[in-house]
Every structure is written in C-alpha cells, then in structure tokens.
C-alpha cells in the first residue's frame, strides 16, 4: 500500500450515494469526548478559583474544598486522555507547504471562498493550530499544575518558583480557553463538521469543500476495494 500522506488508514468511503466518509473511529471519538469533558470541567473548576466573581462555580462540584481537590485529578485524566489523542492525530497535523498559503488567505476562508485556496489534506492550518496549541498548553498546564498541587506536592519546588508556576498556569489557562472557544466555534460555523465527532462521518460534499486532498486519497485508495 502506498504511504498515506493525507489520511489515516482507517478513513474510508462509507457510502456512495450520497457519499459519506468515515473520519474518526469510535475509539478516537470516545477519546475526544473524554478529553472534551475533562477540559470543560477543568475550565469550570479553574475559573472558579481564577476570579472571585466566578467562585460560585465551585457549587457545581460541591463546594470550594471539593473543587480544589478534584481540579488537579481531572487534569491528570485530561493529560493522559489527550496524550492518546495526540498519538493518533499528530502525523497529519504536521505542517505542509499549503498551510502557508491557507494562512495568507485566511480572509477568503472566513468569507467562505475556499475554492480560491489550495486543496487540503485531513486538516487545514487552523485545525493544526488548535492541535498544536492544545498540545503545548496542556504540557505547560500539567507541569505548572503539579508544581502548585498543594495536596500531593506541597514542597516539590520553592515558593518563588511556585509563584511563577501559578502565574504561568493562569496565563496558559486563559490561552487554552481562547483556543477552546476557537475550536468549538470553528466546528459550529463550518456546518457539517460536528458529525465527524458524533457519528464519525462527514458528507462527501463537506470533504470535497474543505479537505479535498484527503477525499481524493481515500477515494483512490478505495479503488482496491472496500474490503481491504
């Protein structure tokens, strides 16, 4: 089999009339939603401790003490969940020459004139940005978070270093929330995207419009027969 440049081995044409394309396996979707749930819970519990006006959010978790206890534990869950997701997704998120053109013409993307842009593989530069931003920020958050995990690592690092860690942790948290908003917003604005993470499939039209090289590669591969 030729080396796949734009698609994962599991991606395939699921039906032909109308065309639907399988984009994410069940295990990847489960992995994504465990990560997403963790991130949302971390966001709520973290914001509660970030700003006094949001302290009431601790009520969701059963009070300040429980929030303080559970936040880092969810953080550990998120870290390992995202690690599994990372291992599945990193290859096709490596930068490619067409990403530069895509970013340079981001205005056309926003206006919905994607036909003026180069054909793309499984991910566009925006999706790649979200992926790498999440990856980097999660590492920053877990490292700084362990440094300020009072319950289990009270004296892991010096107090001056803990001050830096807590500042870095809150800045990284603000950044990851912005990336999260971008991610959710892009998924909603680009209609037809969400089914990729719910049912696992997208329509052929969606694939043609946004990720044509990905569709071409899968379609070409399927010539060998769907039983492969």
């Amino acid at each position: 089999m030729p080396r796949l440049r734009y698609s994962e081995p599991g991606d395939h044409i699921e039906s032909r009339a109308p065309v639907t394309v399988s984009r994410y396996r069940g295990i990847t979707r489960l992995n994504h939603w465990v990560t997403a749930t963790s991130l949302i819970l971390l966001l709520l519990s973290g914001l509660a401790l970030f700003h006094p006006s949001l302290f009431f959010l601790t009520g969701i978790f059963g009070g300040g003490q429980v929030t303080r206890w559970i936040h880092p534990i969810i953080g550990i869950v998120l870290f390992f969940s995202f690690l599994l997701l990372f291992l599945q997704l990193w290859r096709l998120n490596l930068p490619r020459p067409e990403d530069r053109t895509w970013v340079a013409n981001i205005g056309e993307v926003v206006k919905g004139h994607e036909e003026k842009l180069p054909e793309l593989g499984k991910y566009n530069a925006g999706q790649k940005f979200v992926f790498w931003a999440m990856s980097v920020l999660i590492v920053v958050l877990i490292v700084s978070g362990v440094m300020i995990w009072e319950e289990y690592f009270p004296a892991l690092v010096s107090i001056p270093l803990r001050r830096i860690a807590v500042l870095v942790h809150s800045l990284a948290a603000v950044a990851i929330i912005l990336v999260f908003i971008l991610h959710v917003y892009a998924a909603i604005w680009t209609r037809g995207t969400i089914s990729a993470m719910t049912r696992g499939t997208v329509t052929g039209g969606w694939a043609w419009r946004h990720h044509r090289k990905w569709l071409r590669e899968i379609a070409g591969r399927d010539r060998k027969g769907p039983a492969e």
């Binding site: 006094p52 302290f55 919905g112 009072e150 912005l178 908003i181």
Partner: protein, 329 residues
C-alpha cells in the same frame, strides 16, 4: 452579658471574671479575601501590635508552649537532628517557632546566638489575603489582625504563594491553612496574646502599635548605649508595616536572623497574577465567548453547497469505480 471587652493595651492584664461581649468581631473587618467593595466599619479600632525584642529573648520556648496550650494544638513529636528548633519548622499545629542562628560578628569576631520568634507578621498589606481565591477565608480587622476563617478556606495554598514570610501551613487533616491569629479570640475579650503573656523576660510585649513603637525606641536607645550601633526596629514598609514588630540588635542585616527578609513585599509576580492577569484574562475570555456567539448568530455560516455533494460523488465515481469482485484487485 453586660460590658464590652476593652481593647487590650498590655499582655499582662488578667481576664475579667464576669462574662463580657467581645471587643471586636466581624463588624470590624476592613478587608476580606476575594471580595471587593467591603463595607467599611463605622468605627476604627486602635491599631495593635506585638513587639518581639530579640535582644531580650532567652530561647526558652515558653511562647511556643503557651501557643500550643491556648490554641489546643498537638505538634507531632519529631526526631532530634541536633538543632534547637523544635519542631523543625512551622507546622499547621505550631503557629510560632523559635529559630536559632549562630552568627559570627565580623566586627567583633564574636559568636552571637540570634534567636528569633518566627510567625505571622500580620502585615498591613497582607499578601495571603491578596492571593486567596476563597471569599471570606482571610480577613483583616481594623486593629490590624489578619485572621484565617477556616470554614471558608479551601486548602489551595495560594496564601503560601502570597506570603512574603513563608508562614501559612496547610493541615493534612482538615485541608485548611493555619497560622498565628495574634490570639484574636483572646484580644476580642480584652487579653493579650498567649505567647506575650507567657514570656518570662518580657521579650514579647503587646499593646497599641503606637505604644509598641515607643517602647521599641527606648529599647533601641538602650541597645545603642551598649554598643549595638545598628539596633533598630523591624516594621517593614514594603508590606505597609506589620502588627508584629521586632527589635533587632542588627537591624541593618535582618537576614542574619534565619532569613528574615531584608525588604519584604508582596512578590510582583503575585501582584501581576492577582492584578492584570485576573482582570484582563477574564475580559479577554468573556469577549471571545461573546464575540463567537454573536458571530455565530448573525454571520453567514460556512455551508456545504449541493454542488459540493455532486462533485464529491463524481470524484468517488472516477477515482473509485463501483467495487468489483476481488479478482480486479
């Protein structure tokens, strides 16, 4: 209850025997953690202070014993590792600690045994309170006492990062932060702190801050007459002054007293974290969320057109003809 307890002006006074109402309470709070616009109290209590005259301390640890007894704590028995500090550090059950330093005075070539009673300094500008994310877990009264309200504490340890003196300790039992209260419960009923009352040499004295500063000045004058040219008061400006103040025989070098900070202040990192990061961060996140929602509601979405579907079908047809039986592979 008939009378209200007076503000204590000395640690020596004995308690009244009849029941009395507290001399100060929640109505006298001037600052509350994670709370802005605290209504200011109608009255201003006299500022209080505990003065620790390091030059008079004999290191007997009566203050520690009195502290343990009054606060009913039970510091764990530790190993003797050949130092005088006992316990080895402040703990959630030991709010004050005698720290011993052997210092060779370069001017005289003599060894000096410097003993400092460590504990909460009750800063006028408390870093712990500024760092605390839990509303009402740390309060400051108008007499200067900074107190932890345990039922509101969530045990996050932010106070530890905020404190310039490394004082708060988190209990492994109830997961809340502990430190010296300046015996706020005793002061409220007209008594001085337990440590001050127990001190046999009056190295620890208690009263109004004005009186304590005046007393410190007489002590400094005395020390200077005995050759301690650099004797002075430690009431650091960087934290707005403190309500626990020291008389040091070497006030030019506070750090020789077991790393007493030379110029304590709330770390600029903590100020930046609790200042611009908190405010600007919330604003940026809020704007992004609102902006995305509005754009989502009013802007045209990126729709897949019917011709995209047709193109896709054509592509799949040409690239991948209807699958034939396996022999065509």
């Amino acid at each position: 209850m008939s009378d209200t307890a007076p503000q204590p002006t000395t640690a020596a006074a004995n308690p009244p025997v009849q029941p009395i109402a507290p001399g100060f309470d929640a109505r006298d709070v001037v600052r509350i953690s994670a709370t802005s616009n605290v209504p200011q109290p109608e009255r201003q209590l006299t500022k209080l202070a505990k003065l620790i005259d390091v030059s008079k301390c004999i290191g007997c640890k009566a203050c520690q014993s009195a502290c343990i007894e009054w606060n009913d704590t039970m510091p764990a028995v530790e190993e003797n590792v050949g130092v005088y500090e006992n316990p080895h550090d402040l703990t959630p059950d030991m709010f004050t600690l005698m720290r011993f330093a052997e210092w060779e005075n370069p001017a005289t070539n003599e060894l000096e045994w410097l003993i400092r009673k460590d504990g909460c300094m009750h800063c006028e500008d408390p870093g712990c309170l500024k760092a605390c994310p839990a509303p009402g877990a740390i309060v400051q009264y108008s007499n200067g006492i900074v107190d932890f309200i345990h039922e509101n504490c969530i045990g996050c340890g932010y106070c530890i990062k905020g404190c310039p003196f490394d004082i708060p300790r988190i209990s492994r039992v109830d997961h809340t932060a502990y430190k010296c209260t300046l015996c706020s419960d005793r002061v409220a009923v007209g008594q001085g702190p337990a440590c001050a009352k127990a001190c046999p040499t009056e190295a620890i004295v208690f009263g109004t801050k004005e009186d304590m500063v005046a007393h410190a000045e007489t002590r400094i004058e005395d020390l200077k007459s005995r050759g301690y040219e650099n004797a002075g008061i430690y009431d650091p400006e960087g934290v707005g002054g403190t309500h626990v103040i020291y008389v040091l025989h070497h006030a030019d070098k506070p750090s020789i007293y077991n790393d007493l900070p030379d110029n304590p202040r709330i770390s600029p990192i903590v100020e930046g974290w609790k200042g611009v990061t908190k405010t600007a961060g919330l604003a940026v996140m809020g704007l992004a969320a609102i902006g995305a929602t509005l754009h989502g509601l009013f802007a045209r979405a990126n729709q897949v057109e019917p011709e995209d579907e047709v193109e896709a079908e054509r592509l799949v047809e040409t690239e991948a003809p209807q699958p034939q039986p396996r022999e065509d592979v």
